[in-house]
Structure formats: structure tokens, C-alpha cells
């Protein structure tokens, strides 16, 4: 069966009615999932859901860079920070959310260009180190420019008020992040069907083939890097609106490593994987709250992360795909639809 990135992107293709029908179920599942919070959740879980969406957007960005283009970055958390603090500084100067968003996109992109340019020749591991260094620098900057950033004490962020939504209310925050999540997910899925997307995949799988057909690798690497940074920036900006408070630890090395963990655990090859991974990372601690052991997370969280990674080497998506695969065969044996 074809990788879900394609299946879903083909689901939104104009051509290919056949494909489109085959993947309607996936779309319905997505819609249903998005509705769950609205129908069943109270303020707290709505807040968690909104946070998950913001986090997932950043994870999707990293999936493009790491999963599709095969470039490892340890700075996605920092790019969330770039977005969050850009928004914060602007909003404290009374700039409207709309303009904030534009600035977030622009600045995240420009920063990515600056960080990305010198790293073009580097092997994935070395790229990881440069991004790590950037992350450390960024965190240092946050702490040492407290007059703009609030420094180590962090900064309270004015809630976004747009179209009658006010992100200081979890429901509104959820609806807003959901809107972004939907649009950006469609864009990420669309990437698989574009030449840009194929160029990235070529960098990941075979640079030789890419060159042989005329791909200019550095440009593609940069686009992947900038794209992931913009996703990260938007994710971070939304995150700041959802929580109403940002501080350097939210965007430090560990934040970045956890985003990478999300992408790998979810299944780095697909956009869906990024979402599954984000859900895993965000909901794991909440799971411990549900079983009434909120303070157990610190101990068991790490172990669970390692075990899950070991058991599902293809990531959550791989497992899911296998399950649905089985389901399909079972159904078709029963001679039902398909």
C-alpha cells in the first residue's frame, strides 16, 4: 500500500477519483478526531488539545525536514521560540495578531536562511550539531535580553483576539489552532505530490539521482529548512497564545529533542506520523494524570519512550498501517467494500 502522505494527498487531488474515494475514510477519521474535544472536553482537556495542535504543527515542520528531506535538526524547538517571542514582542507593542503572524512567518524564514546557509554542505549529524549550537545561542539570547524577552522569568503573552475568538479561553484557543492545523496539514500533505517534495525525497534517498535530473541540492535543502522553520514558528506562536505564558525552558534543547522524538516515534516518513508522535509526547504525561499518578510521569515517561521506540521501530504510523492493513484484508475476505 502506498505511503499515507501520498494516499491522503491523492485524496485531495482533483484528478484520480478512485484514489479520492478510497481515502474518504481517513478524512472522516480526521474530522471525527477534531470533533472529539468540541463534543466531550471541558476547559482543561480543551487546553491540552489546543497545546497538542500547536505542538503538532511544529512536529509536521520537522517531519518535512527530517522525514522527507533526511536532514536532522535539533533546533525545531528554538524555531518555536522564534515564533513565540516574535509574536510576544510585537503584541507588547500593540501589533495585531494578523500582522504578528506575517512577521512570525517572515522572521522564522529569515532566521532559517541564516542558520541554513552555512550548513548546506554538512552531513546530517553535523547539521544536527550546528542546529544544536543555534539553539543554545538562541536560549542564551532570550536569557540575556530580559528587557525585551522577560529573561529567565519568562513573559506573559496577551491572548490573541481574532474573529470574536479569545485564546485565553481554551475552546477559542482550540478552534483557532485547529484552523491552522487543518490548513498546514493540507499543505504538508500536498508537498508529497509536488516536485519540491520529490526533490527533498531525492536528497534523502539518492542525491545522485537528484543531480542527474538537474536538481540544485542547496536550494532544495534551504527550502526544506525554511519550510520546517516556518511551521515551527507558527506552532510556537500559537503555543504562546494557547498558554498565555512563554519562558526559555519551553524552547530549549530538550524541547527540540522531544520534537525529534515525536517525529521518530510517530513514524518519520509521513505527516500522519508527525501527528501521532506529537499526540504521544503531549498526552503521555496527561495519561499519568488520568490514572491518578501525575507524579509518576518523571520516572516512567523516559522508560515508556524508550520501550515504545524499541517495540515500534517503524513508529506509531507503521503499527497503525499494519493494523489497518490487517483490517482491510479481513474485510475484503468477508467480501465487503473495496
Amino acid at each position: 500500500m502506498s505511503s499515507s502522505a501520498q494516499s491522503l494527498s491523492s485524496a485531495i487531488r482533483i484528478s484520480d477519483r478512485g484514489l479520492r474515494w478510497r481515502h474518504l475514510p481517513a478524512i472522516f477519521v480526521a474530522v471525527a478526531l477534531a470533533l472529539v474535544p468540541l463534543l466531550f472536553f471541558g476547559d482543561y482537556w480543551m487546553f491540552v488539545a489546543a497545546k497538542l495542535l500547536a505542538f503538532g504543527i511544529a512536529a509536521m515542520g520537522l517531519q518535512i525536514l527530517y522525514g522527507r528531506a533526511g536532514q536532522m535538526s535539533l533546533a525545531q524547538g528554538s524555531f518555536m521560540g522564534v515564533g513565540a517571542y516574535t509574536g510576544y514582542i510585537l503584541s507588547s507593542n500593540g501589533v495585531s495578531p494578523g500582522l504578528q503572524l506575517l512577521a512570525v512567518i517572515a522572521i522564522a524564514g529569515v532566521v532559517a536562511l541564516i542558520v541554513g546557509l552555512p550548513t548546506l554542505r554538512l552531513s546530517p549529524l553535523r547539521l544536527a550539531i550546528v542546529t544544536l549550537a543555534f539553539g543554545e545561542l538562541f536560549n542564551w539570547l532570550l536569557i540575556n535580553t530580559s528587557q525585551f524577552t522577560g529573561g529567565t522569568q519568562g513573559a506573559p503573552v496577551k491572548p490573541f483576539v481574532v474573529l470574536g475568538l479569545d485564546t485565553s479561553y481554551p475552546l477559542d484557543a482550540y478552534l483557532l489552532t485547529l484552523a491552522f492545523a487543518v490548513v498546514l496539514t493540507l499543505l504538508a500533505l500536498n508537498l508529497a505530490g509536488t516536485q519540491s517534495g520529490r526533490r527533498m525525497a531525492a536528497i534523502r534517498d539518492t542525491e545522485m539521482a537528484a543531480i542527474s535530473v538537474g536538481v540544485f541540492l542547496p536550494k532544495t535543502k534551504l527550502i526544506a529548512f525554511v519550510l520546517s522553520a516556518v511551521f515551527g514558528g507558527i506552532g510556537g506562536w500559537l503555543y504562546s497564545g494557547v498558554t498565555g505564558f512563554i519562558a526559555p525552558p519551553d524552547f530549549d534543547l530538550f524541547a527540540s529533542v522531544f520534537l525529534l522524538a515525536a517525529v521518530v516515534i510517530g513514524g518519520s516518513r509521513t505527516v500522519i506520523g508527525a501527528w501521532l508522535g506529537a499526540a504521544f509526547i503531549v498526552l503521555l504525561p496527561e495519561g499519568f494524570n488520568l490514572i491518578g499518578q501525575p507524579n509518576l510521569y518523571a520516572l516512567a515517561g523516559g522508560a515508556l519512550l524508550a520501550i515504545t521506540a524499541l517495540l515500534l521501530t517503524d513508529g506509531l504510523y507503521g503499527a497503525l498501517a499494519r493494523l489497518t492493513g490487517m483490517a482491510r484484508t479481513v474485510l475484503s475476505r468477508k467480501g465487503s467494500i473495496r
Binding site: L38, Q153, G154, Y169, G244
Partner: protein, 405 residues
């Protein structure tokens, strides 16, 4: 898609939007409840969330895991011990006090999530104390939005203790006051010409520097500020800077580990100025570990010194040991007094609504805890205390030079 599906999805959408609007409405009114602005309107008949006929739920977040865990756990135990004692005596307003402390991992965003959980899931009535500055600050904007009073958290910060955050009632001084007060003492005793400050980079350091500067004023004293980043692996350069500068007094506002590490590094090259540390280092947990390199170090006293001489603390120590079977540490004491202040506020509240608690907090006047200096809050005052004591480390003991009261 098929007409049937179209209809269905349209119906769902419509439903969602209506639901959405409804919920938004609730959210608005929900956050409205609990009293208007901070100058709270107290309706004695109102009953706040978390209050039943038999219990009052209070809670807070503290670092129970991660680098801040030691102090967090100790503070929690201190609070629990006090509430156990109160509950044994029949509780407050005929209700048992139920304490819930969640782990915030010393991380601001985690702290906020847990605080939301406490307020929205557990439905606590008020926030009882707390431990750690950056993590607690993570919850502050949310608490203010929800108008939940937070009582005597240990979170030294110049952002708290004023009317910009009217729901946070501070009984711990910020670093500006702390070091102004300590420097005042030093300058009474001695007239150094060069003092240095090694402090965690960022607000903590900046505040400490400001406090020292305030006290130095126009006196002819040079001040060298060296910001440090936690996790320093080599203190030699800092020590070299200090020796070159020739500081007679070196203020240390660092973690236990880094304070110890820096003093060790000084010791390695045999440099021995008078060290001056923030309140955290008056904890036995520090002295028992680093006493040998900390002899003669001055420390700020944020809470009364735990010594048999002082009757008040002697009584407290006895009581605590009787309750828990263990001698209290500074942070047990910290938690104990947080619970004491919270209890006092609940006891004096005309009614068990948040508004009334705020009113009762604002009526605190020279409240004696025997641990903190007398606490006074008012309709437009949120910094309950304005001074600290000073002690010196001698052997494994603290000798009080200037008492907290």
C-alpha cells in the same frame, strides 16, 4: 460526497458552531465568577469551588522531580505536616483541609498545565504556597485571569509582591530587598572597597545587583557583577576574575551545586574572601554538604534560624519532630509557614468564597508566624515582609548575626 453525507456533515458543523458559542459563553461567565477585581467583593454566603461541608481543597505545584525536587519535596512535606496538625485539631471553619501538590518539574509550562489541572479538574479553592520562581511565574498570568488567590508562595521575583499581580500575596522578599538588606548589614560592620557578585544570569542576577547597588548608593565601593549559567563545568575563569579584581566580599546567588563548586574552585587556588550567599544556603541540606568549604560564609535568613535558643523556633522544631519524627529543614519550615499563613487566611475569612479570602488576606497586619518577619498586607499592598536576617556558617551550625524579626 453523497447528498446524505452532505446533510450529515452540515448538521455536525451547525451543531459544533452552536456548541462552540455556548461554551464560549460559559467560559466567559465561568471566569467572571470568583469576584470582580482584586479589591475583592466578599459575599459571605457564597461558597467557592473546592469547599464542601466537611473539606476545603487547597493545592499548588512544586518541583517534585528534576533539579528542583529536593526543595520542592521538603516544602510539600512541611505544608502537609502543618495541615495534618490543624486537621487533627478539627480543621478550619469545621472543615478538614485537603492539600494537593502536583509536580511541575521546575518548568514554567508544566507548572501552568498542572495549575490549570488543579483549578479546573481538582477544583482547588486557593493556592497554598509554592516553591521556585520560574515555575511559579508560569502559572501567574493564568491565576490572575482566573482570579485565584495564591498565598505566600516562595518565588522571589520583582514581578510579584505588587499590584500588577494582585492575586499573588507574597511573604518572601525578592532578591532586590534581600541583598539590599544583607548589604546594609555588611556596611554597618565593615567598609570594603571592592565587592563582587556571582549570580545566575538573568533576572535573579540583575535583581541581586540592583539590591546591592541600592544600598551602596554613592559610597565609594566598586562592584563587579559576574553572571553565571547553571551547569558551568569549569569555575577557574570566574575565580581568576575574582582574584584579579581582588574582591573582599563575594556575593553568591547560585544553585547549591554551583555555590559548592565555585567555593571549591576558590579553595583549589587558596583564595578566601568573605562569601555572602542568598537564603537558600542557610538550609542544612547545603551546610551538611558544603560546610567544609563554606566556613565563615554569610547567608541571608529568609526564615527564622532553626536553633534551640530561639523559643519560637524551638517550639516549632519540637512540634515538627513530634509530627513527622524528623527534624525540620529550612524548606520544611518554609512549607510549614506557607500552610500556617493559608490557614490563618481561611480562618479569618467571613465566608468561604475566594473574594472573602482575598479580603481576609488584605486584613493581615503584623501577623506573627515566628518564622517570617511579621506579615502585613493591605488593599494595595502585596509584599508582606521587607527584610531578611543575616547569619554566619560556623562548623555545621548557623550563628545568627541579625535576626529576621
Amino acid at each position: 460526497m453523497s447528498a446524505a453525507q452532505k446533510l450529515k456533515s452540515i448538521r455536525i458543523l451547525a451543531g459544533v458552531t452552536i456548541l462552540g458559542l455556548a461554551l464560549t459563553g460559559c467560559a466567559v461567565s465561568g471566569s467572571g465568577s470568583g469576584g470582580g477585581d482584586a479589591a475583592a467583593d466578599c459575599v459571605p454566603t457564597d461558597i467557592g469551588p473546592g469547599v464542601t461541608d466537611s473539606t476545603i481543597k487547597v493545592g499548588t505545584t512544586m518541583p517534585l522531580s528534576g533539579s528542583g525536587a529536593a526543595t520542592g519535596l521538603a516544602t510539600r512535606d512541611g505544608q502537609q505536616a502543618y495541615y495534618d496538625m490543624i486537621n487533627a485539631d478539627g480543621g478550619v471553619q469545621d472543615r478538614q483541609i485537603e492539600l494537593i501538590v502536583l509536580d511541575d518539574e521546575y518548568d514554567p509550562s508544566t507548572a501552568q498545565s498542572r495549575m490549570r489541572q488543579l483549578v479546573e479538574q481538582e477544583e482547588i479553592f486557593v493556592v497554598s504556597g509554592g516553591e521556585g520562581t520560574p515555575n511559579f511565574l508560569g502559572s501567574v498570568p493564568y491565576l490572575e485571569r482566573k482570579k485565584v488567590p495564591a498565598i505566600a508562595p516562595y518565588a522571589p521575583s520583582d514581578q510579584l509582591g505588587n499590584m500588577s499581580n494582585p492575586h499573588i500575596f507574597m511573604a518572601a522578599v525578592d532578591y532586590i530587598t534581600e541583598f539590599q538588606s544583607v548589604t546594609e548589614y555588611i556596611l554597618e560592620q565593615d567598609s570594603p572597597s571592592k565587592v563582587a557578585l556571582v549570580a545566575v544570569a538573568g533576572n535573579v542576577g540583575e535583581n541581586s545587583e540592583e539590591g546591592i547597588k541600592n544600598e551602596i548608593g554613592d559610597k565609594d565601593i566598586e562592584l563587579l557583577y559576574i553572571p553565571e549559567t547553571p551547569g558551568t563545568t569549569d569555575f577557574t575563569p570566574i575565580v581568576s576574575q575574582l582574584t584579579q579584581f581582588g574582591a573582599e566580599y563575594v556575593y553568591l546567588v547560585l544553585t547549591n551545586a554551583d555555590t559548592g563548586g565555585l567555593l571549591k574552585a576558590m579553595d583549589r587556588v587558596g583564595y578566601q574572601p568573605t562569601a555572602v550567599a542568598w537564603g537558600g544556603m542557610s538550609d542544612s541540606a547545603y551546610i551538611s554538604e558544603y560546610g567544609d568549604v563554606s566556613q565563615g560564609m554569610l547567608v541571608a535568613l529568609e526564615t527564622a534560624n532553626l536553633s534551640a535558643e530561639d523559643p519560637a523556633s524551638a517550639e516549632f522544631m519540637a512540634k515538627y519532630e513530634e509530627l513527622t519524627g524528623a527534624a525540620p529543614t529550612k524548606f520544611n519550615q518554609q512549607g510549614w509557614v506557607q500552610a500556617m499563613i493559608t490557614t490563618e487566611a481561611l480562618r479569618n475569612a467571613e465566608g468561604l468564597s475566594r473574594g472573602c479570602v482575598i479580603k481576609s488576606l488584605e486584613s493581615f497586619n503584623e501577623f506573627e508566624t515566628g518564622i517570617y518577619p511579621p506579615i502585613t498586607w493591605g488593599p494595595d499592598r502585596r509584599d508582606g515582609v521587607k527584610s531578611v536576617g543575616v547569619a554566619v556558617i560556623e562548623g555545621t551550625e548557623l550563628r545568627v548575626l541579625q535576626d529576621v524579626k
